[in-house]
């Protein structure tokens, strides 16, 4: 991904009932770039998986969390800033293993970089997936 991008930041209450809103919002955003419907579905699933981990974690003490989206002409990235303790426990248990497999498989970019906090980055290139 390269070139100019539009950046959108959403600040979401750390409550499970807002995950359906996140899925709806991210679907709208990435549809705008031109991803086909199957890739939109994949991105929606991945973003929701990460938000689920944040919402269900005791590590995130704030009542809200931010998701930062970058919309390029040729792709999409999302950034989730989380505490170290969440990054360490992100993929524990059966459902954690499933989440890791899903996120890794459905994205072109997936990384966790830690300093004081950790940033989970996901990305998807437009590639051949063009709607219409």
């Amino acid at each position: 991904m390269s070139g100019n991008y539009d950046e959108i930041v959403i600040n979401i209450p750390k409550k499970a009932e807002y995950l359906s809103f996140v899925r709806l919002a991210v679907s709208g955003l990435v549809s705008k770039i031109g991803f086909d419907i199957d890739i939109v579905e994949d991105i929606k699933v991945v973003v929701s998986e990460i938000c689920s981990r944040i919402v269900s974690s005791d590590c995130v003490t704030s009542q809200y969390y931010d998701v930062r989206f970058k919309l390029y002409e040729n792709g999409f990235q999302a950034f989730f800033k989380v505490p170290n303790c969440l990054a360490e426990n992100l993929f524990e248990g059966d459902s954690g293993e499933f989440a890791k497999a899903i996120i890794s498989s459905l994205t072109d970019e997936f990384s966790i970089a830690c300093d004081d906090d950790c940033v989970i980055t996901i990305g998807k290139n437009l590639g051949d997936s063009v709607n219409g």
């Binding site: 009932e17 359906s20 929701s48 269900s56 059966d94 459902s95 954690g96 499933f98 899903i102 459905l106």
Partner: protein
């Protein structure tokens, strides 16, 4: 929102459950309670009819695995019917398509 109902018309000795809607972390606790209540100790085979299921996340998949373990302990199985393609994809990615018995037609 999701719905879970038992189809009592089935007389094949298995428990047939109809799932629809979205199963995510918001609905997972209720889904788990209802599913485990229906399957009990796992003494019968389970049929999950999922043509109305539009979304399930890793939490929901984990609950299904828990249900499978429960019925497997009594040498029974979980049959999953009519998964939508987007959800079938998640089963393939996680390897669960090899763990559950996936069928097209009920």
């Amino acid at each position: 929102m999701f719905e879970i109902t038992v189809d009592n018309r089935s007389d094949n000795g298995k428990i047939r459950i109809i799932l629809s809607g979205e199963i995510d972390i918001a609905t997972a606790p209720e889904f788990k309670n209802r599913l485990y209540e229906i399957i009990g100790d796992g003494t019968k085979d389970i049929e999950l009819v999922c043509d109305g299921l539009s979304y399930i996340d890793s939490t929901g998949l984990g609950i299904l695995v828990g249900a499978l373990k429960r019925v497997k302990s009594h040498q029974n199985n979980v049959y999953i019917y009519q998964l939508r393609e987007n959800i079938k994809k998640l089963f393939r990615i996680t390897g669960l398509d090899k763990v559950f018995i996936l069928e097209e037609a009920v």
